[in-house]
Symmetry: C2
Subunit: 336 residues, 2 copies
């Protein structure tokens, strides 16, 4: 913070204008002068003040992302992939990623978005875990701030997003279970206002319908995407007079919870009880037995999201902004 463009200019006997233009690669600076400037800059360790530059240029060179904090903190490995993907892509574009955390759909969250947007702290925002009728989307659209979303909100989406084809994925999974002979298939959902819940649940229902299985609402439980809630819901399901023969978790973490509950009850997983999840986190590969899941390339998705947003921020036009990704059904021992 000590050395400014002034110091540099004085040392070189040049005006700050020339120094600035030399470093920015303008054509109206003699090649020799530019070299002198660059060398001296390096020598005295000059680095333009971020704040000053930001103020003048009216851009922050940063992308924002707000991590949803879930109350019972069993951190979802999904987010490592997501964050590193974003981070790598954004770093590759010479921008920074600014993150903070707040409970979903809270006043605090609202305040955060407002502050970032109004104060010009970030040039663009990444959102995920979209909700039905998501105020964030409306707000960002209204304020004309650039953003991309993982998963589109309800209604038609006139903004760039990447969507994982959750209904189709879940349908595939149900289909697989039906083929294995299951008829009593339970579903542990998430908060009903989450788009991933809505879509995955719809896929589940569609799958049942196709197999001509009457849906039994007693086989539905509502969790909160944590391992613990998967565990609780599963115990409740397995205590039914007519328990399910298969349990689907709306995400892998809850399926892991189901696994734990089933083990506690001494069930033989894969034959007596099938368990499957969604996301394809690396944990699923190592469980006993390995967990059937719908894999989505989270790291790559995050990179792509970052890439789209960076293009928008830098004013480049992007060809194909919306993407639908088919999740891949990984059949493992947990479903026989």
């Amino acid at each position: 913070m000590a050395v400014t463009i002034h110091d540099l200019a004085k040392k070189l006997n040049l005006s700050i204008t020339t120094v600035s233009r030399a470093l920015d690669g303008y054509g109206d600076v003699a090649e020799e002068t530019r070299k002198r400037v660059e060398e001296t800059a390096r020598e005295i360790g000059y680095e333009p003040s971020f704040a000053a530059r930001q103020l003048r240029r009216k851009r922050a060179d940063a992308i924002g992302y707000i991590l949803p904090t879930s109350s019972p903190r069993f951190t979802d490995p999904f987010y490592v992939s997501f964050l590193t993907g974003l981070c790598d892509e954004i770093a590759a574009s010479n921008l920074d990623l600014i993150i903070t955390s707040s409970p979903p759909d809270s006043d605090q969250e609202k305040h955060q978005y407002q502050q970032w947007v109004q104060s010009g702290r970030v040039d663009g925002i990444v959102i995920n875990r979209t909700r039905l009728d998501d105020w964030r989307i409306n707000y960002l659209k209204q304020n004309r701030i650039k953003f991309v979303s993982l998963g589109k909100g309800s209604g038609d989406a006139d903004y760039p997003y990447i969507e994982v084809h959750d209904t189709a994925g879940m349908e595939k999974l149900v289909n697989h279970l039906v083929e294995k002979g299951h008829r009593r298939i339970a579903f542990i959902g998430a908060s009903p206002d989450l788009v991933i819940h809505e879509d995955r649940h719809t896929g589940y229902l569609n799958g049942l319908k196709k197999a001509k299985i009457r849906t039994d609402t007693s086989l539905f439980r509502s969790g909160d995407l944590t391992e613990e809630s998967g565990y609780q819901c599963s115990h409740s399901l397995l205590s039914l007079p007519e328990p399910p023969t298969a349990i689907i978790g709306c995400n892998d973490l809850m399926a892991l919870g189901a696994l734990r509950a089933a083990k506690e009850r001494g069930l033989y997983i894969g034959t007596e009880l099938a368990i499957a999840g969604y996301d394809g986190i690396s944990e699923t590969k190592f469980t006993d037995p390995p967990l059937t899941t719908l894999y989505q390339p989270t790291y790559e998705i995050a990179r792509k999201l970052g890439n789209i947003l960076v293009s928008m921020v830098k004013g480049k036009k992007q060809e194909e902004s919306n993407l639908i990704i088919e999740p891949e059904l990984l059949v493992r021992a947990s479903t026989g």
Copy 2:
């Protein structure tokens, strides 16, 4: 970005000075005036420009952290806990966390640190994965930028850090294995310039020495902390004419790789071959068999680190800045 303090002042028929002071809670503004200002600010959605404020106040209200990108990208779940911990703590202090990524000990990394420090982009920096003779520590000390470190570098540390007592932890683990009757205990290390390698390896050697077991260098392999490298090293170890009866991974990820290799060879894990890791990532709980590991409370450590740094940045003095944490040996089925 549209509405500035000017607009607000004009609308209120006040000077920008008064508006600024009203919002900042100075005493020389009439209570009624302050109320008017606050209300109108909310009404027209005024939020002070971050850049302008930063420039004038000479602080960034942000903490920086650079994520090390490992070449074969099997993302380490350790970092979810670490990042969410940092993020939650920093968010609670009304600062932002700025992250980017770069390969450890690269020119790019150096450039990143320099830029952040010289341009005043961040008020403080968190580092981890410290290295023996770590230039980052010297650089940050030299430039008088505030920082905290997870793990101290070599030499005496006249800066705040939190350290996990790795030598003691590893010694406990070796001790446990020896008690189980193992004498040929292999160690898969990491890059030798990493402090965690140095410490954990030392603990391993100490453990052997205490048990009066001669170290056999053929039982040492050097990995890179990824699952894949744990897998490779284990295959190499298990192909020895006299293979080890126990394998210790310098981190859990490599132990997971060992598990995979052992399974491929049809070994009965826990009795024929013991496997153990270090970190206590959640994956270890679900493997078949569950993995013995040394647990460290990563989330809490990160929060504490964030807390210390925030205090430093805000100029509060902190009582106890250095902490040594004892890892907890979780004995599970993978070691019998």
